[in-house]
Symmetry: C2
Subunit: 685 residues, 2 copies
Amino acid sequence: MDQKVSGGKDPLVLFMPSGRRGRFKKGTHVLEAARQLGVYVESVCGGRGICGRCQIEVQEGNFAKHGITSANSHISAFGAKEKRYADKRDLKDGRRLSCSATIEGDLVVDVPQDVQVNAQIVRKAADTRLIARNPAIQMCYVEVEGPDMHKPLGDLDRLKQALERDWGFSDIIVDQHVLPQVQSILRAGKWTVTAAIHKDMETARPSLIALYPGLKNEAYGIACDIGSTTIAMHLSSLLSGLTIASAGTSNPQIRFGEDLMSRVSYVMMNPDGCEAMTKAVHIALNGLIEEVCAESGVDPTDILDAVFVGNPIMHHLFLGIDPTELGGAPFALAVSGAVHSWASDLSLALNDGTRVYMLPCIAGHVGADAAAATLSEGPHRQDEMMLLVDVGTNAEIVLGNKKRVVAASSPTGPAFEGAEISCGQRAAPGAIERVRIDPETLEPRVRIIGVDAWSDEPAFAAMAEKSGVTGVCGSGIIEVIAEMYLAGIITEDGVVNGALAERSPRIIQDGRTFSYVLWEGDTRLTITQNDVRAIQLAKAALYAGIKLLMDKQGIDHVDRIGFAGAFGSFIDPKYAMVLGLIPDCRLDKVKAVGNAAGTGARMALLNRDYRREIEQTVTEIEKIETALEPKFQEHFVDAMALPNKIDPFPMLAEEVKLPEKAEPAIVTEGAGGGRRRRESRRRRD
Amino acid sequence: MDQKVSGGKDPLVLFMPSGRRGRFKKGTHVLEAARQLGVYVESVCGGRGICGRCQIEVQEGNFAKHGITSANSHISAFGAKEKRYADKRDLKDGRRLSCSATIEGDLVVDVPQDVQVNAQIVRKAADTRLIARNPAIQMCYVEVEGPDMHKPLGDLDRLKQALERDWGFSDIIVDQHVLPQVQSILRAGKWTVTAAIHKDMETARPSLIALYPGLKNEAYGIACDIGSTTIAMHLSSLLSGLTIASAGTSNPQIRFGEDLMSRVSYVMMNPDGCEAMTKAVHIALNGLIEEVCAESGVDPTDILDAVFVGNPIMHHLFLGIDPTELGGAPFALAVSGAVHSWASDLSLALNDGTRVYMLPCIAGHVGADAAAATLSEGPHRQDEMMLLVDVGTNAEIVLGNKKRVVAASSPTGPAFEGAEISCGQRAAPGAIERVRIDPETLEPRVRIIGVDAWSDEPAFAAMAEKSGVTGVCGSGIIEVIAEMYLAGIITEDGVVNGALAERSPRIIQDGRTFSYVLWEGDTRLTITQNDVRAIQLAKAALYAGIKLLMDKQGIDHVDRIGFAGAFGSFIDPKYAMVLGLIPDCRLDKVKAVGNAAGTGARMALLNRDYRREIEQTVTEIEKIETALEPKFQEHFVDAMALPNKIDPFPMLAEEVKLPEKAEPAIVTEGAGGGRRRRESRRRRD
């Protein structure tokens, strides 16, 4: 390290929250000390005291446990640069500019993660997690020498010299679109400019991607999750890390096919299908860009970096890659590694120099969205064995801890999304989302989206008048079937028990099988035997995939479960477990993790170290292809039962009274047993 | 080096023409030996014996002076790979495939520089210099593993693995446009493909810029000199180095302004002037691309690299940069260093991945064309002091040797190009290009472009009937004025001697001055006093620039002179020296170097080492700005005389009888003398 980091009696400085520490000579600028310790402190102006980005706070108090006896007043007095800055701009009480303040004794320095210097609308997004920053874009203010006929170096060449001198960037590549602007920008800024430098990989040469006259004290990025149903975009400041606008829209590719496989089919049937779908998603993205920019007042050309995630088919279609190969074995991805590209090559209306980064895909059905969720939830960073599930037409499943991570996808089909269910519908006002069935009377009470009361409460009728009760959404289906099971209306094999028709008029015959009348009003909503079967098939596929990964890990329960995506946000973990969608786990350790893929995308946007982390992690994840695993089919059949015939649920049983089983809850595993149970079920069906 | 390079008794192998040598174990492939010694031997297929690019010849005979006693038969017999190749394709007698042939004893190996494996029209261009190759584009054939569900790595990722395994390229960047093609190309080639890898700088990561199914055994590049008047393009094979087509066209920017400064004015007066001129040159370039491709049958998308040179204003306009700053002091270039760009960003109809390289500019008026001419003629590589001159509206002048190179530009104006001359015209049939004047009778005889006879020969009249005699072109103007001087018609101060009107009717009065009637026919062509003055001004500017550089080098004559450009190709060096355009030099050391800028561009196209060489050389060249040099004006005035009053011409005097001077040929230098002579001239005028 630098000679300024010295030992012995020099002051000790501790940076929080990183905890990095070192001894520095008195008079060392705090910014310099941070740099030497590798503590990320933003600075656009390079220590000239004009950008105000390098703010820190000195913590007062007793830090004896850190070897610091008195941290008070061990920083220099307010300097000229700070006074000038505080006069012009607002410098909050207690804040100092680390390019001005010097170390005068032992110090504990707090580096705020969200220094804001511009008035920005800060949207309270669902996930406002603070993310440690080290973005791939660096804004670098420099003063450039004017032209000199004695040394006829070009304007750009002198700018490069300044960037090397002040910021240490040598060997800079200059984007073609910047060239024609260099001279006028340098003159407009009176030979001071701010260069936007893109440097993602350590091995990459830095690129000059945009240039601004004078001090440009802001730069933005977008993080975007392209789902098959919904596209969500967040606009973040690359300099404060704050999310300042968010927007979402339906994926317009829906008009080419509701689910992924129908979109692949569309491409296979239509020569220009891929191009049309790529164009559709690009147009939707440009709409979202307009929306987040309008909301925040940000100029789209100030968005300099963009991160995208999506499942493999969304990923390919976004990049203009024909997804046909993903439609059948061997499910070959065109590219699985991270993709570095240009926004202009992808028809995005941003700056001509804006870069695009896509997280790696894990496997043919486990995409960059699963990688992003992994990055966000970090099973690979923890000791606990974590299960991360994102349910869609394909469920993406990641299971592991810091020792080993395995991943697979399961073909759950669209039942969880309400498709294939007779009374199923999308989540919208009027849809039943909560259900309770009295085990004695078999009478249900429900709650619908948009109404805060249960159906047996007096207020309900008036409140529900507007929307009516129209159907059952995905989370409602899970609850009603789980409650039917808990009330004994369906057996552990999923048969609607016709014998109960004697006890309740809600059990009705429907051809050769029976149905349960969940709602009787303008519409009659019934849960049919086929509905139960559809959910059984979907949950069996999901559980079989999870079970396969648990086999690989050699475990029979997990420590934590994260439910990603919209489906995961609304279902009650208890009912998911009652149905046997997920394995046994302490209920308080089962969490909806929201749009974890979007959070992972934001992490990759704000910190290139996270890009390297997930790239490395993805190469280490063991990919399990369910289609190649003989046990998958067996697990699938066994998982048809409620909760299932594979695993016991002792932790669940502590909180929920499960019906008594026809067979013992703990069964001996094995192909023979499986076959026997399957046969018995076939007989009973 | 590799363990295969061993000492002692192992066979000694000498590669020609490089002269590199080393000892290798018996059985080592010749290709491997070449690689270890850094001898460039092409191979597209990576040693599979299918591309035929790695051909060598074994030299027979006695190479005792190289320590090789018997080189005969010390190579392995024709192997299976070679037989297979020779059966399918033509392998010339004596040629071997170095990936098949092994070293079995001492060998002298000749590496042919122009291995052709495809039938190509090879155009005999003016300059067919063979250029040692090490292009920035490498064609790499690989066999890629098919997809495997157990290891769900993407197709592109497996391609990258193969490129690393077989060719050592790690950390490859993939162009966005390649992504959507990867899967279909891999399948079309049955998992064999040829990747075009661009790697120019050592510090750059290699880029995958194009991909072809199977073996793609050709790749092309264009080298282009964008002159203010003419644009010249050469199409070369990057794999054989041969130029296979050339084309030229007028620069369409001429319609915006005849000379450089009028084009800058156009930009200053018209808001879209820069864009219009950039577009015009791009359209012209695309026309030339069509032309060279049609001539050679090459697909434009197989052109993967492109090198451009031009003077600073052409350079800027090609890149879309407003050249206004170059129109006035301090003549600031937007960029002086080499420019790396993409053909698609410059609207060139080539492959989407085609790269563009522009040589560095030396100074505000000494452009990438001068850098290319320097690279071609190599003053910086030789002991002799070489003067390199490219005459245009601005003369670009480079003077130096391997110790030190200086450069400047001189504002010669358009007189040398026939503008500002009463009877001047562009070089075209009917234009006088050669002149002899009898010193006794003062009668001229001339030759015109398109006619092989002198005007005093009987055949002339009939042969000249078609075109007539229409004017005097640039080289003719130099000759007629030099001959007028040698015949005593004009004095060393450039005055047309009216006293001679007594002796010859060709001397006629024209107001207060006299003219010389050069041609009397349908048209009368006269050389007026003003014409002489215009040439005097132009040549004085040129010589003053040269003289300034000679001052810097501390020399009074040069060892070699290279005349670049069209003007230089046609003027007779003797007359250029008689008029004092160039300093004294042995006449046999004055050479027209043709389109040296174009040759330099070809060198940079075919060998990236030349790019590094000229980049380094340009940083080392001392740039002299004539406008800042007090002595320039003085030299200019002194150089008005014929030949001039600055320097003696003893070497010229040995070959040409120069008129006796009114003042001694060898004069004492100094500002006083200059002023005195200027005054005396003013009196005499």
